[in-house]
Amino acid sequence: MATSLLRAFRSSGTPGFTLSTLLIAAIVVSPVVALVYIASAGSGDLWPQLTAYVLPSAAANTAGLLTGVGLLTGIIGVGTAWLVATANFPGRRFFDWALLLPLAIPTYILAYAYLDLLHPLGPIQSALRAFLGISDPRALHFPELRSMGGAIFLLGFVLYPYVYLAARASFLMQNAAALEAARVLGAGRGEVFFRVALPLARPAIVIGVTLALLEALNDIGATEFLGVRTLTIAIYSTWLNRSSLPGAAQISLFMLTLVILLFLLERWARKGQRFVTAGKRAQTPARTTLRGPKAIAATLACALPLVIGFLAPAAYLADRAIRKAISGDISAALFRETANTILFAGLATLATILAGILVAYAIRTDRSGLAAPASRIASIGYAIPGTVLAVGLLWPLASFDNAIDAAFRQWFGIHTGLLISGSGAALVLAYTIRFLAVSVNGIEAGYAKISPSVDHAARSLGENSFGTLRKVHLPMLRPALGGAAILVFVDCMKELPATLMLRPFGVETLATHIYAEAVRGTYEDGAIAAILVVLAGLLPVMLLARISRNAIATP
């Protein structure tokens, strides 16, 4: 085993990068190993109870939620991407970037905002009652938001940009010739979409939907608030209410296995299709100009997700925040919390992108066959719910810290304390593990557009592997790096469960601030922090829209 590994290494071409990738994979996998260890401490005496009463409904709820969110994000994301990419209608240039805005809104904030907005006492029903001249709130019946339907609705309208982003890029890059051939052969616009464009865009759409689904799966704030008991919620309640951390670890491993199986299934289903998008770039197809009712319908179709997923909740939060600001009590801590949020998210983005570059480069150049599987392992963090990841990290980190402290005290008489788990490093590490998949995927996609002949040219001109990466690849990868960095940054800023558990003593971020206010039932005090999270996410999201447009416009 050891010698064959060694041989594989020597022949890997870029052993340094392969080794780094293996190391990164080892770090990512360490919380999973800790979970296996924790799970093995359980006797399994909870399982009869869990399988009889908890897991069937939790699994059914999860399946229902994921199916609904998958369909909704797919329909909204693909539909709006198709319109924006292939048609001209009033507002197209605006929607082109604005449709990404819901990315800036964390799911838990959206759920809080909508529970207020749609409550019988909220502005919408109140206005409707006033309009209809009804005084009793019981006379008007809205469907209850605290339901599976409500959860699918909210998550669908806030997570669709993941699909939109991927589908739009794919539609814009599709070979005009293929689409025009279909038109010439007599296919209508609809037929071109369903029979040519959609199948061609499938890999991109699948990636987008997968990201949206993993976000939905990890969500704890919104689903808990809406009373939808998913597997993720079952993990928390098993740990906290059934007082069984081993049981919780067992369910998380079960869920992780399911996610990995789904991934494998998806890869298997689309094997042999990889070359589809790798073809030579051709001209962007000319846009069809829509007129009359069709143009209005297109504008409305793009306006609806934007209003529901961003404008309405953002306007609501802004209104609350302004009222709060006028009343004068803005907590001074908010500035520090904003700085903390940006600092941790920034550091984690840096780490995530650096690790992503190492991994993606290793996949590209490695000939040992080790880098590819290692890179898949390095991406599993995205499938681990935040709190579970936090529990898994707690033990390895604290043990490491305590061991260092003991060693330093023994040898040098220095008390080092909790180096990592007592500082922000734990948070940065957790974010990096959690979001590495986003960066690796983005950079890999960027690499797909760089021909291997570029590498050969650089190497034959005397550059070593590091030089090729630094002087040739990185400049060419800039749009991909920028896009990945922004997605990771926004994700880190929004992250709540791991932040709550791992943040160092005495440090708060905007997300933990909002959560604390929500727990106290003083949502309106959290409005300023919530709008700050949205604002801090807004700029990166707008940048992302520009980068992704430029990347397609200038290959």
Partner: protein, 342 residues
Amino acid sequence: MSRFVFSLAIFAAIAAGAMAPLPAHAQGEVNVYTTREPKLIQPLFDLFTKETGIKVNSIFIEKGMAERVAAEGANSPADILMSVDIGNVLDSVARGVTQSVQSEALNAAIPANLRDKDGHWFALSLRARLFYVSKDRVKDTALTYADLADPKWKGKVCIRSGQHPYNTALIAAYINHYGEEKAEAWLKGIKANLARRPAGGDREVARDILGGICDIGVGNSYYVGLMRGRKNEEQNKWGAAINVILPTFPGGGTHVNISGASVAKNAPNKANAIKLLEFLLSPEAQAAYAKVNYEYPVRPGAQIDPIIVALGTLKTDEIDLRAIAKNRKLAAQLADKVGFDQ
């Protein structure tokens, strides 16, 4: 590239400064880990700092507090572990992250049934689990906990998750009084009466009553004070929309839970931790507790806030909290079994 490296270096330097771990012992400090939002008792901490000069640092860890302290081990900065619900308090003790404290002042201030005989935990305040009913639509003025399963409330009941510790403790107390079978039937009855999914917090119950979604719901006593007593136009309306009933178990007592605290096993500032606990149980702080938080003080004779007094005379259920805590697991299982949250 070099400019990039330079700005990176600056960023890293700032970051290193911001992330440096806090020194575990600093003179005149005490570190509080709490599963309860600490701002609720911040005024008490401020008062303590003013009197003693000892600074109180706090961190809110709603989920996994004991786990974190256990992992941090000998280097944990935690001095005091605070939590709500007797079950959570006992969990910390069972996890081995607390230590025994002997204090005459504490023993004198807290009735024996509200503290551990070995000094591993102490109750700080009490809260009763009550019914909120619609002022307009409900005429009842006295109800038992069992009444909540009465079919006459079909489609009219609001409650938070059946797996929330407040409800788990209530179900556990029900098991103590009536036995497992009847408790299961009771839960089934409440579930059949629900107006909406069990979710959110206790205040939402009052809001949903005002919004016409339900007529009756379950909530803790202090929320009534928070809704009625604090300056907040919206919540004042929620508080005004309900009447509060003190439901009873056989024997005429109402279910009461605690918020409690322990001294952490590896507390770096143990002396200060005990000082803070003794302060929190002083007559002055206990009265402030009731005033700021609308909870019932544990110290006999300490004054209760007028808003809470107006709810009626509280007669505490006679069953011991430890006996209730023993049935917690069973209670959570029953809630699962009847699919309470589904």
